[in-house]
Each structure stands twice: as C-alpha cells, then as structure tokens.
C-alpha cells in the first residue's frame, strides 16, 4: 500500500492493524530493514505474529511503514 506520492504509507496513518506476508522478491525501490534495526517491542511482535500475519504493535510507536520489508527468518512485507 502506498500513498498518492508513491511513498510508503506510515503504519500510523491507517487504523487497521498491520499484518505481514512473506515475499520472495524485493524490488530495488523497497525500503528494507534487518530485524536487528527494530525496537524490542516490534521484534517481539514480529516473532509472535499470528498465523494470519497480524502484528500486535501500536502503529504510532513503530518506525515501520506499510510496504517496508523486514529481513527475519524470511522476508516479510508490512501491509
């Protein structure tokens, strides 16, 4: 999901809880984070994501944006 100017939409901009989906290809334009760059709270949320991919994080406290990719045990896209 992107805003009209093509930039990633902040998780905080949207009220629905963020989810993650595995991806295999990463476009050159993607913003990519390694798991170690994330806050402890976001790390725990990612490592305990529900089977549906829903993340238990407060959208206003994470630096992740929708469309970002996180390198964890697999590549996960935030949406």
């Amino acid at each position: 999901m992107s805003s009209q100017d093509g930039q990633p939409t902040s998780v905080a901009d949207v009220t629905t809880p963020p989810t993650v989906v595995p991806v295999s290809d990463v476009p050159s334009s993607a913003r990519v984070h390694h798991f170690d760059e994330l806050s402890e709270r976001t790390q725990v949320a990612l490592s305990t994501a529900t089977p549906t991919g829903r993340l238990d994080i407060d959208p206003s406290t994470t630096r992740l944006s929708r469309g970002d990719i996180v390198v964890f045990t697999e590549y996960l896209r935030i949406q």
């Binding site: 476009p27 390694h34 760059e37 725990v44 490592s47 697999e74």
Partner: protein, 429 residues
C-alpha cells in the same frame, strides 16, 4: 615583546562561536553522531571522514546482498545528498593516519589536516588475517565492507565448492552465503561446536543441523594449517592441522576483527583492544570521544569495561557521544544490546554479554528451541534464545535493572517464564 594570553570561557565560546566537530568513520556510529550533532547544534561545522568510497550503507544487510537475495539499492542508507541537506561535509576515500590531541588536528594519508574542537573516533576494525601459508591467495575472502560483499557475490556465483573458517557470528554469515548460493561447503571449526563460548553442545547442535540441511558440513577439531593454490595463484584446497584436504575454489575467513587502534598509538589516548571511554563515550582526553565497535566503554550494567559490535549498540553510542560532545555529562550510555541471526527458519537472538559470567542456566525445549542465560554475581548479563524470542523483553528487563536472581535459575528457564514467577525482591522489580 610580551605575549598576552587570552582565555575564553568555554561555555561562552560554546554559545557564541560555532563549534567544529570532526567524525572519523561513516558507519552507523559516526553517521548517527552527525545527525544528532546537527540537531543539537544547527550552526556547528561538522565533517565526516571515511576511508571507504561510499556513504553510509546498511552493514547488517550486506550478507543478504551477497546471498543474491537483495538488490544493491536498498542496502544504501544515505545518498551524498543526505549530507548536503544537513550541511555536513563528507570526505570519502580518506584515511586518517595521525591524531594530534594537543593541536586539535587529524591528518589524512595525503597530508591534509583537519582542525577540530571536538573529535569522534568511530573507526571500527578490519578483519583479522589468518597467519598461514597462502592466506592471501586469489579466491580467499574476508567479509566486512559492502565492497567485500560485492566481491564475494561475484565469486561465489561461479564457485563449485567452498570452505568457511571462523566459528562465530561473522563466520556463520559466510556459511549462510555459500548455502544460499547452492555451493557445497565445509565449515571448519577449531573446537567441537559453533560459537562454543556462548552455546553448549545442545544449543550449537541446532545450528549444526540447520547448516547440514543447507549442504554446509561442519567439521570439528579442524581449522586451517595452510592453503594450496594453482599455477595462477588461485586457492584450490584448504589443508587442516590433521592433514585433511578440502577442495575449495571459494574460501571465506571470519576469525575476528583487529580494531583500528594503530593511529591512537603515541597520542596518550588510553586503549587496549579498543579505545577506552567512560559511560559518556569520552576518552581520557576531554575533547576526544569514541563510538561503535572500536570502544571499550564503561558498561554501567556489567560494572566493567565492555566492547560490543552490534548495530543498535553502535547507533546508540553515536547518538550518546554526540550529546556529550555538545554538553558533557548530559546522557549516559546504558544499553542491552542484541544480535540476531536470520539465516534459518527458526529465529536466533543473543543479547548482552552471553560469553561472560561466572554461572549459567540453559534448557532445551525441542529440536529447534533452546535458551541459555549467562549470570554474573547472581545477575543476568547476557543470553541466547533459539526458536522463541518472546522472553527477550523479560530477560533484558532483569538484566537492565540488575535484578538479583540468585537461587532461581531453574525458574528463569521455564518455557512459559513470567517475571511474576520470581520470588521475593526479584519479583518486585
């Protein structure tokens, strides 16, 4: 003629004259320091000098690039315009070779001098060379910079077989790169387990099995005695101390870092394996600070000097150093670091100082779930979690708050451990 000494009150000078800050090193520590300095002092002169040929990139993602899984663009963190936009002078391809603390100057390899009021040394390290015959042959790689990753990717994509040396956190990155590129490999280790200073055999075996599943075979009680090369000087074989021969047209070595302390020698700045700093990241010279994995900082949680190369720790140290360069004593570095491995289908995270301590407790819950906590003087000082990272917040809290967990080791490693499970004073923290 009489000389007249003019003394300017330092606080007055700080307020009315623009300060000059020089940062040596454009890794995450140096770059985060520059960003903080600009926020704290809009009018200051800020210069970053690096011997690398490109601005800040994401050092903890370059392994993914070498695996062939990430394109190059997302690895870059700052374009040169980032520095222009913040009025920070970025000087690339420039190696600082001399520091004059009294004269407040640093000198580059080409003789250029840079004056400073406050200096930050974020100069990191360089990979340790293996002191054996032919260790500089073509086809033998060390892994530290983005350029190293590019060279490794170019080579491994053409390789038939590989050998990796270095049973630690950097070595396993090289092993994972060979696995991701579908190159059969041997992983030579001196002991009987990977990262034997932090993991027991039970914990290490989870990693060994994951490597074997990816066609990388751990070889124990091994190492390298010498390399054999062909007529063109390209490596062909690694020969271990048992005289076992391992074919390899690609070799990766990660046996540690030599910290770049040679320019400190003779300056009067205290150092040992790294540069000594206090908890404000200041050296024994009041105008010189250090940050990142070059520092041996006073660790307030551990109660002794410590060194840490994790990304988050280096970033925080850069920020804290900058704040204290502007106003000394304004903020302490108090941090529980963590480092994860993301190569396998189970998570792995180490935190604090898992190789230290006078006691430990560990538990294995399944073939892919295991924990170990390092304890010193009755307090957690580090640990390793494999398979389930959810307890990390609780363990880090106990470590950060220096809670005495004496006599409750077994409670700590209950699979569903909660802080309320601890008895007495510990539970009240």
């Amino acid at each position: 003629m009489r000389e007249i000494a003019i003394h300017i009150n330092p606080e007055y000078k700080r307020r009315v004259m623009s300060q000059s800050y020089v940062i040596v090193g454009d890794g995450i520590a140096g770059a985060s320091a520059a960003e903080t300095l600009r926020e704290e002092e809009p009018d200051a002169d800020i210069t970053i000098i690096t011997d690398e040929g490109e601005p800040l990139y994401n050092r903890i993602l370059i392994k993914e690039f070498a695996k062939g899984k990430l394109p190059e663009a997302p690895i870059s963190i700052h374009e040169e315009s980032w520095y222009d936009d913040r009025d920070v002078d970025l000087v690339l391809n420039t190696l600082i070779t001399d520091i004059d603390p009294e004269g407040h100057t640093v000198t580059a390899h080409d003789g250029t001098e840079f004056d400073y009021d406050k200096l930050l040394l974020a100069i990191g390290g360089t990979p340790t060379q293996l002191p054996v015959e032919n260790s500089d042959a073509d086809g033998i790689h060390h892994f530290w910079t983005f350029q190293d990753a590019r060279d490794i990717k170019d080579h491994i994509e053409q390789a038939d077989n590989s050998v990796v040396i270095g049973a630690g956190l950097l070595g396993i990155d090289l092993a994972a790169i060979t696995a991701a590129q579908d190159v059969e490999g041997k992983y030579l280790m001196r002991g009987k387990a990977w990262w034997r200073y932090a993991l027991s055999q039970d914990g290490a075996e989870i990693i060994h099995n994951a490597l074997r599943e990816r066609n990388v075979e751990p070889v124990f009680d091994s190492g390298v005695d010498h390399f054999e090369v062909d007529d063109d000087g390209h490596v062909t074989t690694a020969v271990d101390p048992n005289d076992d021969h391992y074919d390899a047209d690609f070799v990766g070595i990660a046996i540690g870092l030599n910290f770049n302390t040679e320019i400190i020698d003779g300056t009067g700045i205290d150092y040992d394996n790294g540069i000594h700093t206090d908890e404000y990241m200041r050296t024994n010279h009041e105008d010189i600070f250090a940050a990142g994995d070059i520092t041996e900082f006073h660790d307030l949680i551990l109660g002794e000097r410590a060194q840490n190369g994790a990304w988050g720790s280096a970033k925080e140290q850069g920020t804290i150093a900058a704040k204290n360069m502007v106003e000394y004593g304004s903020e302490e570095f108090r941090w529980v670091s963590s480092y994860s491995i993301t190569h396998f289908d189970f998570p792995f995270l180490s935190f604090g100082h898992p190789t230290l301590g006078d006691d430990h407790v560990e538990a294995k819950y399944s073939d892919t779930e295991w924990r170990r906590l390092a304890i010193k003087d009755g307090k957690i000082v580090g640990g390793v979690l494999i398979g389930d990272l959810s307890p990390q917040t609780k363990y880090k809290k106990l470590m950060r708050e220096q809670v005495d967990v004496s006599g409750q080791k077994e409670v700590l490693v209950k699979q569903d451990f909660e802080l309320d499970d601890l008895e007495g004073a510990a539970a009240e923290q």
